[in-house]
Amino acid sequence: MKIWNWEGFWGYFTNLYLLEGALWTVGLTVSTLFFGAIIGLALAVMRLSNRRWVQRIAETYVWMFRGTPLLVQLIIIYTGLPQLGLVKLDVIESAIIGLALNEAAYLSEILRGGILSVPYGQSEAARALGLNPFQIFAKVVMPQALRVIIPPLGNSVNGLLKTTSIASVISMEELLRRGQILMQQKFQVLEVFMVVAIIYLFMTTCWDYVQRHIEAYYGRAYGGLADRQLARDDR
């Protein structure tokens, strides 16, 4: 076997089967984030509730889904549930549900941390001004919490882009699995996996760019512009 095959390498870059896999990876990531964020936010709010039983439910969920491997969760959802006669979900449904439930547990902790970082005085002042709990949460706490949430959340998204490859264990043909399948055809192992790595890198770089802009938006009150504004006012 030769050391490196440039023809094979460039060939895999333009391989539609492989590029389609990248689309599947992005699709899985976006769906997981959408459902995972909703469930995660619900869990975070439940954790911060005054009622102990509400807290307990959220705590147990997070404990279970963070405490077991994603691979095991996917296999249980995809093959365990039908075997027990409960419900039969197809590959895509199982992958999205499994990834979303798992990611929600991790996201809930990030969201909870962000919410806790907002000084309690903010909520107190808002209550003194007559805002109801929903308004306090949506208009006062969350916008400030988001600035702290974005970096670890961006980290999660970055990780999630690659974690979706675990769905291959239930036969989902996302990017990495397609790379493995192509590898079996001509055994140009290094060439295929380098292309797969570069495609992943491209996707995470795109996300980095988006994340930077989101961070700038939510941090605009704290950035250089605000400091310059304050300095001008003091003169």
Binding site: V91, S171, F187
Partner: protein, 285 residues
């Protein structure tokens, strides 16, 4: 007088000990000398390192004590013994085996790897077994599979990378060319997971070789709906020619002993058609 006896006793004891030591050294050097092949034709001196995917009873599997069992394990162990080597197994998925052989992680692939033209150009393949492909269905064959065409419009789960996957995709092509409903091929990391998908009803059929399918049928989990299709030869595969030749010699010896015939008959596996073993195909360029 007592002192003289003691000295003689000591001398005799000393002689006995040194004879024992000499014999022991001779025996151990004798055992080392027996190893018919050594580095650089082997990765580790005195050891035949083989890759195996032990998820295919009765050919290769792990019993409940965690020990490797199966026809292929027994045959390879006997070959290693003939060459004076200790067998060592690395359990890994099929997809990693051919690259691993090139990367010198193991001396030999022992997983019933099937002979193909492309593979015979990448490694030295020594056919030793003939196997055909079967399609397992849920117990009782509820969908009534009898021929390959019956698989049209259904989902087939299979292990990634092996000949079984290739043949399953060929079935999909055959079905497509006949204008029937398309076959969905679902690839899993290993046969265990592919069978699990069938058990859960996520797939309608699972592909594997005849012997494994029979075993699964006997266990009562599934029915061997279709069998005996795409017969082909299974091989040991090597990256190193002297080692391949040595194992060919060992296999021929085992045939002369009658061990090979007895073992394959015991497992109900077809023997190769040729009378002697040999490397098949050109090998790496």
């Amino acid at each position: 007088m007592a002192r003289m006896i003691d000295r003689r006793g000591l001398l005799q004891a000393g002689a006995a000990v040194s004879t024992l030591a000499l014999t022991a050294t001779t025996i151990s050097t004798g055992a080392r000398a027996q190893a018919k092949i050594a580095p650089p034709n082997l990765i580790k001196a005195g050891t035949l390192i083989m890759s195996i995917n032990p998820t295919l009873p009765p050919m290769q599997f792990v019993d409940d004590k965690g020990e490797l069992k199966g026809m292929r394990v027994e045959l390879a162990n006997e070959c290693a013994k003939k060459l004076g080597l200790t067998p060592e197994y690395i359990r890994t998925e099929f997809a990693t085996m051919i690259p691993g052989l090139a990367a010198k992680r193991w001396d030999m692939i022992n997983t019933g790897i099937f002979f193909t033209e492309e593979r015979s150009k990448l490694m030295y393949m020594v056919p030793y077994e003939r196997a055909a492909i079967s399609f397992l269905s849920a117990r009782g064959n509820p969908l009534g599979f009898k021929t390959i065409e019956d698989l049209a419009g259904h989902k087939i789960s299979v292990e990634l990378g092996g000949i079984e996957e290739k043949r399953t995709r060929e079935v999909a092509d055959i079905v497509a060319k006949k204008g029937l409903k398309p076959v969905t091929v679902m690839t899993f990391n290993n046969f265990g997971e592919a069978f699990q998908a069938l058990r859960a009803g996520q797939s309608d059929a699972a592909t594997c070789i005849d012997a494994t399918a029979k075993f699964q049928e006997n266990r009562g989990d599934f029915t061997r709906a279709i069998s005996g299709v795409f017969p082909q030869t299974a091989c040991f595969a090597f990256a190193n020619k002297p080692l391949a030749d040595a194992v060919v010699g060992a296999l021929n010896d085992l045939r002369k002993d009658g061990y090979y015939d007895k073992l394959l008959d015991q497992y109900g596996v077809l023997k190769i058609e040729e009378k002697t073993f040999a490397i098949s195909g050109p090998g790496p360029a």
